[in-house]
Structure formats: structure tokens, C-alpha cells
């Protein structure tokens, strides 16, 4: 059998093959072009020869199944698949530029850069998880960056799709993955938990901040399993300038039990983007590894990690959404603010993993502020935060599940929408006032949010009286100042 018929200059169903970019143990990559497609392409073909790892062809089958089903900026665009007779191949969008592997000689990186990078990767993972896929091989060489900044995940050969047969899981007894990055449950053969990707990202962030891999690069199964009971040295022990909040996040990602990590990658991305809102626990204070006795106890008794039986939902956003509640703090909106709180209070018991972000928009004038107004602005900002906390107090949510944000903008609706887009919000709860004088204006905030938000929006409104009960007031289009309702 010829190993490949794909070579520079060859034409594959209209795709013109260019230079070979890479030849690994599993697959060959070639540059390619097509007269009708303006962006650069990539041909990926598995290596079929005697002695090839059987996982190469199964991984390719998985990629054939998964890639055509993925969309969005965080994956390479699937173009076509075909076969030269004996040699199957995939044609994908080619993402220019090197992978994160190129950064390894520069490690350790400044912690702020790692946090930004981590947030971008978490955002990409969230997008993937929402499409029913767990990547299971998150590592620097599988992470590319678009010129526009988004992280792109590549290589779905080890991935699990929640709604497709798992060829990789069924065929191989040994866990497949990349040793330094594999989550403990993945080491034990569990392949359907999206939180395994959080673990890998935690390893990556740890490595990039400290320059050291938290669990080394074990070559045997016994070495891989060690991470189940042996905790790594805390990042701050190796890198004292790593802030406690970043250590908190990294160590939470590296928790042995998936349930102790973030409920979803969206929660993780949000934490990385809002350090001031990260709830600090003992994780953030740790300066050395756990004592030997604790490790022994974990090794032999308490903490044996067991694989839960049955189906784990591949998307946790069902019961762990990010809720954004837009609250109007003006006195005349007090009734609707109360109604909003009661609505949120009724929703929370059904959503045990939900995280609540309380938003208020502080309207800025469009003209540059002078110093005195700026000071006043800061005071208003702090005052609003206090009032938001006061609004939320009856919800009785523990720290870490709730956060408070005063957005400053001349345009309430776009401020809310911007927040929703940047923070992976799943559900917006927003009030609309029934007062007929301002409704047309105020309603326009909630209706603009409802129309343009990329997620569910609940508009809360007090039950209006029948029309005939109203004293008709003119629908005034005035410039009355208002806050978001």
C-alpha cells in the first residue's frame, strides 16, 4: 500500500495541494488552496502504514465525525472531506501563525499575560462544550490564535462528542491523552466530563506562570495516577509574584474531583476576567504542598477517585448558567427591583450551580468629565455597589456565586449587551417599568436587550391594569434622565 498519494501539486477534488507543513506520528498536514476559496486551507491525512498506532485512524474517524458539526471562531472551519481511494483526508481552514508551543522557550510568562491567555482559552472551551464536545487534549500545540485574537482549538482526534459514538473510548483500554495535561478522571478512562478540559487548562496556566509542569511528564500509567493523590507545589511557592486570586483559579482547575472545579468553562473565563470578584479560599493562601500524612491518607483511604456511573451531561450550563440581573436602583423603580429579586429568588433553587452577576448602569454624559465630576462619579460608583449588595442581600448567596458590577456608559442597553457578550452570560433578567410616562423609553432598554442579547432574556414587569383602567397619558418622547430598569 502506498503511504500517501497526496503531494505538492496534486489536485484533490479541486483542492490544490501545496507544501507539506508537518508530518507527525498520526497525520500529515499540507497547505492547500482552492480557486473558489479566498482563505488558506489545510489538508490533513492520517498516516496509514504498517506499525502505525491504531489510534491514528480512529482519531481521524472521530475528527471526520466531529469537525463538520462544529462552528464558530474557536475551531478551524471545516471545508470538505474525501478520499484518494485508499487515503482519506480532511480539508480545513488553515489558521496562520504558530501554536502556543512556540511560547515554551519564553516561560515563565508574566502572570497577567497568563490570565488573559487563560481567559481566551476558557472562552474557546466554553464554545466547544456548548457544541457537545469535550476536547480531551488541550495543550500548547493544539492552541492557535486568530489574527483577531480568538483562541482556536485544533485536533479533535481524542475528543468526545456527547451525541456521537465514542470510537476512541470503546476501543482502547489505556487512556489516551497527553501525559502532563490529562485530568485524573481521564487517566481512569472517563471521557465525557467537560471539566477535564479545565484541568488541562489549569496545567497549562500553572506551567506558563511557573515554567514548571505541575505533574511532570510521566511515562507510565502509575506515574499518571499519582496526580490523584499528590498535589503540586502551589504556584506562589515557585513564583511569589503570582497573585493569590490567580493561584486560587489555577488550583481550582487542578482539583482532583471534577465537581470541585468550576461548573463550566464560562465560569472559569469569567473568574479570569474579573480578578476582584474571585472568592479567595485556602487555595489562594497555600504556600507549600500538602503534608505527607495527608497525601498518604488520600492515597490509601478517603480520597480515592471513583468514576461515577451513568451519563454525565457534557454541558453543565443547564443547571449552572451565568445569570445577569440588570437592576434599576432609582427610588421610583423600587417596586420593580423587588419584583426582580423575587423572580431571581424563585429561579435559583432550580439552578444549583448558577452564578449571579448584578448589574447597574451608571449613565455617563457624552462629554469628557472634569476632575470634580470624576470624583463625584467615583462616589456614585461606590454608592451603587453598596446599593447592589443591599438589593441582593435577601437572596443570601454565598460569596463566589454572586458578583456586582456598575457599568459606566452613556447607553444602558449597549452596556448591558457588551457585558453579556464578554462574560458568556446565559440568561439576562431585566425589569421594564409599567409607568406609561417613561415606558416607551425605559421599555426600549429591556426590549433592545431582549432583541439583541445572544441568550435567554426574561423581562420582568408588574402586572399591568387593563387599558381601560388607564388615564391616557401622552406617550412622551422626552429626554428625561433615566437609569436602566
Amino acid at each position: 500500500m502506498r503511504q500517501t498519494t497526496i503531494m505538492p501539486g496534486a489536485s484533490l477534488d479541486g483542492f490544490v495541494v501545496g507544501e507539506q507543513i508537518h508530518r507527525g506520528g498520526m497525520a500529515s498536514l499540507w497547505a492547500a488552496t482552492h480557486p473558489d476559496i479566498s482563505f488558506p486551507l489545510l489538508v490533513k491525512a492520517p498516516i496509514l502504514s504498517e506499525g502505525t498506532d491504531p489510534a491514528a485512524i480512529v482519531g481521524f474517524e472521530m475528527e471526520q465525525m466531529i469537525l463538520p458539526r462544529l462552528s464558530g471562531p474557536h475551531v478551524p472551519k471545516f471545508i470538505a472531506q474525501g478520499s484518494t481511494g485508499i487515503q482519506p483526508y480532511l480539508v480545513l481552514e488553515r489558521i496562520p501563525g504558530p501554536s502556543l508551543l512556540a511560547r515554551l522557550p519564553q516561560l515563565p510568562l508574566p502572570w497577567a499575560e497568563v490570565a488573559t491567555l487563560g481567559a481566551r482559552i476558557a472562552t474557546a472551551l466554553d464554545s466547544l462544550h456548548r457544541q457537545h464536545v469535550v476536547h480531551l487534549d488541550v495543550k500548547p500545540s493544539n492552541l492557535l490564535t486568530r489574527p483577531t485574537g480568538e483562541t482556536v482549538l485544533i485536533d479533535f482526534g481524542l475528543s468526545h462528542h456527547d451525541e456521537l459514538p465514542d470510537l476512541m473510548g470503546e476501543e482502547f483500554r489505556l487512556p489516551y491523552g497527553t501525559a502532563p495535561y490529562m485530568a485524573p478522571e481521564q487517566v481512569l478512562g472517563l471521557r465525557k466530563d467537560p471539566r477535564s478540559d479545565q484541568f488541562a487548562l489549569g496545567v497549562l496556566m500553572y506551567f506558563f506562570v511557573t515554567g514548571v509542569r505541575p505533574f511532570g511528564d510521566p511515562q507510565r500509567l502509575s506515574g499518571l495516577k499519582r496526580r490523584i493523590w499528590r498535589d503540586p507545589p502551589p504556584p506562589r511557592q515557585l513564583r511569589p509574584d503570582c497573585p493569590p486570586w490567580l493561584q486560587e483559579i489555577i488550583l481550582r482547575c487542578l482539583e482532583v474531583h471534577p465537581a470541585w472545579r468550576y461548573p463550566t468553562a464560562a465560569h472559569l473565563a469569567m473568574a479570569l476576567q474579573h480578578p476582584d470578584q474571585v472568592k479567595l479560599t485556602v487555595r489562594s493562601e497555600k504556600l507549600r504542598q500538602d503534608p505527607f500524612t495527608a497525601v498518604l491518607r488520600r492515597r490509601f483511604a478517603d480520597h480515592q477517585l471513583s468514576i461515577p456511573k451513568g451519563k454525565i451531561p457534557a454541558r453543565h450550563d443547564g443547571d449552572a448558567p451565568i445569570l445577569a440581573v440588570a437592576i434599576d436602583l432609582s427610588p421610583e423603580a423600587a417596586p420593580i427591583a423587588e419584583l426582580l429579586r423575587s423572580m431571581v429568588a424563585h429561579m435559583l433553587p432550580a439552578l444549583p450551580g448558577a452564578r449571579v452577576a448584578c448589574l447597574n448602569v451608571f449613565k455617563l454624559g457624552r462629554i469628557t468629565l472634569d476632575q470634580t465630576v470624576d470624583d463625584q462619579g467615583r462616589n456614585i460608583h461606590l454608592q451603587r455597589l453598596v446599593e447592589l449588595r443591599h438589593w441582593a442581600a435577601p437572596l443570601d448567596l454565598e460569596e463566589g456565586r454572586i458578583s456586582f458590577h456598575v457599568l459606566q456608559s452613556p447607553d444602558s442597553a449597549s452596556a448591558i449587551l457588551q457585558y453579556v457578550n464578554a462574560n458568556h452570560v446565559d440568561h439576562v433578567v431585566i425589569g421594564a417599568r409599567a409607568s406609561s410616562l417613561r415606558r416607551s423609553l425605559l421599555g426600549s432598554v429591556s426590549s433592545q436587550v431582549a432583541a439583541q442579547a445572544p441568550c435567554t432574556v426574561t423581562v420582568v414587569r408588574s402586572r399591568r391594569m387593563r387599558k381601560s383602567d388607564f388615564n391616557q397619558e401622552p406617550e412622551e418622547q422626552s429626554d428625561v434622565p433615566w437609569t436602566v430598569g
Binding site: D162, P165, D166, E171
Partner: protein, 246 residues
């Protein structure tokens, strides 16, 4: 080409009509009936008239164990199934009986094999419930893809040339690719008597161009179908299980 695969109709006219309408809306080019047209349900004649009309127009139909039991009572049945079978025999005219007797046990359609229960020889009628049943079934045939029913529970099994088996519970409405590197066995859920706790009718649609199979769940008037069972004087337990999909 789009091929609709319908199994275990069990004299349930409303469920059959709902599935056929759904299949037509999906652009189905060919109908394949995987057996068990009668038994349990109250409308054996109406269902068989429909199947005969479709086969006259090119649809493919194979025989199931209930279809064979009309002519002989060689196989043991559960008491309710037996009661329904005795009732069914009394309902069917000679034309329907001749049609059932004429049905083949298997039908090879290019690289595809259609059977009611499994490619192994009869009797017994084998239930493919677990991976090891699927392995035996796949090893008993050379067909690239095998389609069957009989268990009333949808499943998908694939095997490589080296004997590696993957088993999968299909998610409704999600197309699953069937890569040609392995052979596949599809167990289609039941049109007329669901047994997975969801009373909706089930069938599958194969797209031979994209080589993808999609399992569909189709709601139909289960209450009316259950009422017809009671009206026909069939065992009330058969009406109850239909409502619950058990």
C-alpha cells in the same frame, strides 16, 4: 437516497401514519419495513393494507416473528401477546394472510441487509440488546450495514476489521455518520409499541449520500391508539403499556 426504516408497527395505524408523514416530510425516497406489522395492536387490517399499498409501489418489507406467528404458533409468546395473536388471526382475511406468508426473512439491498431481529438463522428470534449480541450478529453477516428492529429499543453498533466494537445509544434527531472504515448494525426503535418510557413512535432515516443515520421520535395520538385497543377487547395491559411507552 434517503431510506426510511420502520420496524415493529404492531397494528398501530396512528403511529404508522405519523411516521410515514414525518418520513415524507424528510424527503424519503424509499421505505423499508423491518417486520412485525401485526400483534398487540387493534388495526392489523388497516396497517397491512397500507404496507401492501407501499410494497406495490416499491417499498421493501421483511417478515417478523409476529407476522410468522399468524400462520403458525410454533414460538412461545407472553400471555397478552398470545391473546392478541389469537384475536389477530380472527381478524385477518386470506389476502392479508397470503401477504404475510409471502414476506422474506431477509432482504439484501446492495451492501445493506434488512432483517427483523438479527442476521442469524431462525428460530430462535434473537434480541440484540447488548454489545455481545451485536458482535455475534455482525460476525454472522458480511453486509456493510445491517438494519433490524425486534427489541423496540434504538441502538447503533459498529465493528472494525480487527473486531473492535463500539456501541451507542442514538440521540433523537441527531444525524450520526457511519464511516465506511467499519461495519454497522442499526437497531431501529418501534413504530407502534415504544418500550423506552417515551410513548412517541420511533423510526430511522438513512441518507446514503452523506452516509448518516438519524433516529427520529414522532409524537402521535397515543390516547386514541390505547382507546382502540380497549374497544377491540384486547387485554387492557396492552393499552396501559402503550400510554407509558413500556
Amino acid at each position: 437516497m434517503r431510506i426510511a426504516l420502520l420496524a415493529d408497527i404492531h397494528a398501530n395505524r396512528l403511529a404508522l401514519e405519523a411516521c410515514l408523514a414525518h418520513a415524507r416530510s424528510q424527503g424519503t425516497d424509499r421505505l423499508v419495513f423491518l417486520g412485525d406489522y401485526v400483534g398487540y395492536g387493534p388495526q392489523p387490517n388497516e396497517v397491512l393494507e397500507q404496507i401492501m399499498a407501499e410494497t406495490a409501489q416499491g417499498a421493501i418489507a421483511v417478515a417478523g416473528n409476529h407476522d410468522q406467528a399468524v400462520a403458525n404458533d410454533r414460538d412461545a409468546m407472553t400471555p397478552d401477546a398470545e391473546t392478541a395473536m389469537v384475536w389477530t388471526r380472527g381478524q385477518l382475511g386470506p389476502e392479508a394472510r397470503d401477504f404475510l406468508a409471502s414476506l422474506p426473512l431477509r432482504f439484501e439491498d446492495g451492501t445493506r441487509l434488512y432483517v427483523h431481529a438479527s442476521p442469524q438463522t431462525y428460530p430462535p428470534w434473537i434480541y440484540i440488546r447488548e454489545s455481545r449480541d451485536a458482535r455475534r450478529a455482525l460476525e454472522a453477516s458480511r453486509a456493510q450495514t445491517i438494519f433490524c428492529g425486534h427489541t423496540h429499543l434504538a441502538a447503533l453498533h459498529g465493528i472494525t476489521a480487527t473486531g473492535q466494537l463500539v456501541s451507542f445509544a442514538p440521540v433523537p434527531s441527531v444525524p450520526v455518520p457511519l464511516p465506511s472504515q467499519r461495519r454497522w448494525l442499526t437497531v431501529v426503535g418501534a413504530v407502534g409499541q415504544s418500550r423506552d418510557g417515551n410513548p412517541a413512535a420511533a423510526y430511522a432515516l438513512l441518507d446514503t449520500t452523506t452516509s448518516e443515520i438519524t433516529h427520529f421520535r414522532v409524537p402521535y395520538d397515543v390516547q386514541a391508539a390505547a382507546a382502540a385497543i380497549l374497544e377491540a377487547g384486547l387485554p387492557p395491559a396492552l393499552a396501559a403499556r402503550l400510554r407509558k411507552g413500556l
